[in-house]
């Protein structure tokens, strides 16, 4: 396998007496989808925030392209090619797709001493970049509020990629979506992978993760229970490893028993 673009080596993070992450190692290579699975409170958020520069690890180190780094801020992380797409997607619903695409990094055009927003370039680029991800916009000037959930994800991802992301951290991108929109997002993930981008896909939905993932890391109570390649594990094993897999089986048996008792 190729050299990892970013890796965490035995990272721990404490908040007072709470052990949020303990001795977790995690990496992602270009053109790979690495799924980070775990229940609520397993430490997924802490891991993402450590990777995206919001937190600095208390122990262990972060390497980008093999070199140890210390991220000073999320902006610093973004500059080294790691982009986080949070659930709120950082979009402004009443603004146009093109303006959202370039928000904070507006393309300017000079007219003598005056420089103004290059709307043509912004419209064209937003449209092209989203087409490259497989979403055909009706109109790059339509407000983001009129886009579907999948299209919004596409906008956020295409924007990150356009501005130089080599690794995308997608925080639960499918969790708030319906079946169809979720499959749109899964296609986007495959699309990003095909373009040589490393994707860290955070989810608690094993079914979504298993479809697109190359490797799977499970977090449980702040610790990694191991990383598995797709060939090494099947969907049911993965489900059972997740917190809840075993519990659900137990619950099922219990209910079946009480159902028999009640019926009898």
């Amino acid at each position: 396998m190729a050299e990892p673009y970013v890796e965490l080596k035995s990272v721990s993070k404490y908040f007072g007496s709470v052990v949020a992450l303990k001795d977790v190692s995690f990496d992602v290579c270009p053109g790979e989808v690495h799924c980070l699975l775990g229940d609520n409170g397993a430490g997924k958020s802490t891991l993402i925030k450590t990777l995206s520069g919001v937190y600095t690890p208390d122990e262990g180190e972060i390497r980008v392209q093999g070199k140890p780094v210390r991220f000073a801020s999320p902006a610093d992380t973004r500059d080294s090619g790691i982009a986080t797409v949070y659930q709120d997607l950082a979009l402004v619903p009443l603004m146009s797709v093109a303006r959202n695409f370039f928000l904070g990094r507006e393309p300017m055009r000079k007219f003598g001493p005056i420089s103004q927003f290059d709307a043509d370039f912004a419209n064209r680029t937003a449209y092209d970049e989203m087409s490259a991800m497989g979403i055909q916009l009706r109109d790059p000037e339509q407000p983001v509020g009129t886009l579907s959930g999948g299209e919004r994800q596409c906008l956020a991802i295409a924007r990150a990629v356009y501005f130089g992301a080599k690794v995308l951290i997608l925080d639960e991108p499918t969790s708030a979506l319906g079946v169809h929109q979720a499959s749109v997002v899964l296609k986007l993930i495959v699309q990003s992978k095909a373009r040589g981008i490393g994707v860290i896909f955070i989810s608690h939905n094993v079914h979504h993760a298993y479809v697109v993932g190359d490797r799977f890391t499970l977090l449980k109570r702040g610790r990694s229970t191991g990383t598995y390649a797709k060939g090494e594990i099947n969907r049911d094993q993965l489900l059972n490893l997740m917190a809840g897999g075993k519990e659900l089986v137990d619950l099922e048996q219990e209910l079946a028993k009480s159902g028999r008792n009640g019926g009898g």
Binding site: L91, L94, L103, G104, D120, R138, Q142
Partner: protein
């Protein structure tokens, strides 16, 4: 836009549905309605004579000077309730140094703009730093500035009015910027060819276009350019639409808002400069309720109270409606007591209409 590049796969949205999603649509329609209404009821009264037109345009212009930057601030999601008091304060800041301390007018004007800009920045800083609603913070400024104006004026002059600015301003280099008229030659020519009525003494019924109207148009154009064509405009929409998202993308939301508070304060100072130099006096009660009139004009102009959506051109229509209705009621002979009832109702209707337009814009096209 000079050349619009369209992909053949994009279904073109009809011009009409695009137009219907514009924020200023309601105000433009309202303006037409108001004009038609007064053309019917007051057509013969002189409201639409050259003199009448200049009269209502002057009222509109003064409000419009405030409304354009207030629109930008409201699009960024903030209110400035202190602009009315700022007008009174700026007025005495111009008049007192000139009348009592012998400053030249140009110096007291520069002084006033600097002080007002500073107070605007303080308003903005207070809002951004404390995270309190700007409604409350600037409500505080509204009262503080009015109190300061009264206290200072009475303390220094012993009265609440300062007059005698006219004589001092007569030869001042900045005087004509705020109180002059433009295009007098054109007006005279129009009168000669009979397009504008003449008075009994043979002079045209108006001698020129008041410079405040020029300020109004220039400011509206400048604010529109800022909003739709500049980087700053993108930040204004983002700051009001979704401040958190904007911040995450590196937009300096705090700086954007502070700049806008400075702009509304400077607009209030400009309003005061025009008023003081045209009337020749300052009064501690000047500008009362202008903050609300500006908000009414902006809201009629299609700007959302919650921010993130709106236009400066809309605010211009809002101010125009305001001026026409105010003068129109006067010309038709309706008791002017009814004016406020009308404007209040107009605003409520505008808000309802705007939320309808907004929902339309947000619906999948």
């Amino acid at each position: 836009m000079v050349s619009e590049i369209r992909d053949e796969r994009v279904r073109s949205v009809s011009r009409l549905s695009r137009l219907l999603a514009r924020p200023e649509l309601g105000a433009a329609a309202g303006t037409v309605l108001v004009f038609v209404f007064f053309a019917v009821t007051a057509g013969s009264s002189g409201l639409f004579s050259a003199k009448g037109i200049i009269n209502f345009l002057e009222v509109s212009a003064q409000l419009g000077i405030l409304a354009a930057p207030v629109a930008l601030l409201m699009i960024a999601g903030e209110f400035d309730l202190s602009v009315g008091s700022m007008i009174g304060f700026a007025g005495i800041l111009i008049a007192i140094p000139a009348v009592f301390w012998g400053w030249p007018i140009w110096l007291s004007l520069l002084f006033t703009f600097a002080v007002c800009g500073g107070i605007g920045a303080l308003n903005g800083l207070a809002v951004v730093r404390t995270g309190l609603p700007s409604f409350i913070v600037t409500l505080g400024s509204l009262f503080m500035l009015r109190g300061l104006t009264l206290g200072l004026t009475r303390g220094i002059s012993g009265r609440t009015q300062v007059s005698g600015v006219h004589e001092l301003a007569l030869h001042d280099p900045l005087n004509s910027l705020f109180s002059g008229q433009v295009l007098s030659g054109l007006i005279a020519w129009l009168a000669d060819i009979g397009l504008i009525g003449k008075r009994a003494d043979g002079l045209p019924s108006i001698s020129g276009i008041p410079v405040s109207i020029v300020w109004w148009i220039v400011l509206t154009l400048a604010c529109t350019w800022l909003l739709t064509r500049s980087r700053f405009g993108n930040w204004i929409f983002a700051a009001g639409g979704e401040a958190n998202a904007a911040r995450n993308l590196g937009v300096p939301v705090a700086r954007t808002k502070i700049t806008l508070f400075v702009m509304t304060a400077l607009a209030a100072a400009l309003f005061a400069a025009i008023q003081v130099l045209v009337t020749g006096s300052a009064d501690t009660l000047r500008g009362t309720q202008k903050e609300f009139e500006a908000i009414i004009a902006v809201v009629i102009g299609g700007t959302l109270l919650t921010g993130g959506y709106g236009s400066a051109v809309g605010a211009m229509f809002g101010a125009l409606i305001f001026g026409v209705v105010q003068m129109g009621i006067f010309y038709t002979g309706i008791d002017t007591d009814w004016f406020k009832l009308f404007m209040g109702a107009m605003m409520v209707i505008a808000v309802l209409f705007n939320s309808y337009v907004r929902n339309r814009a947000m619906r999948s096209r």
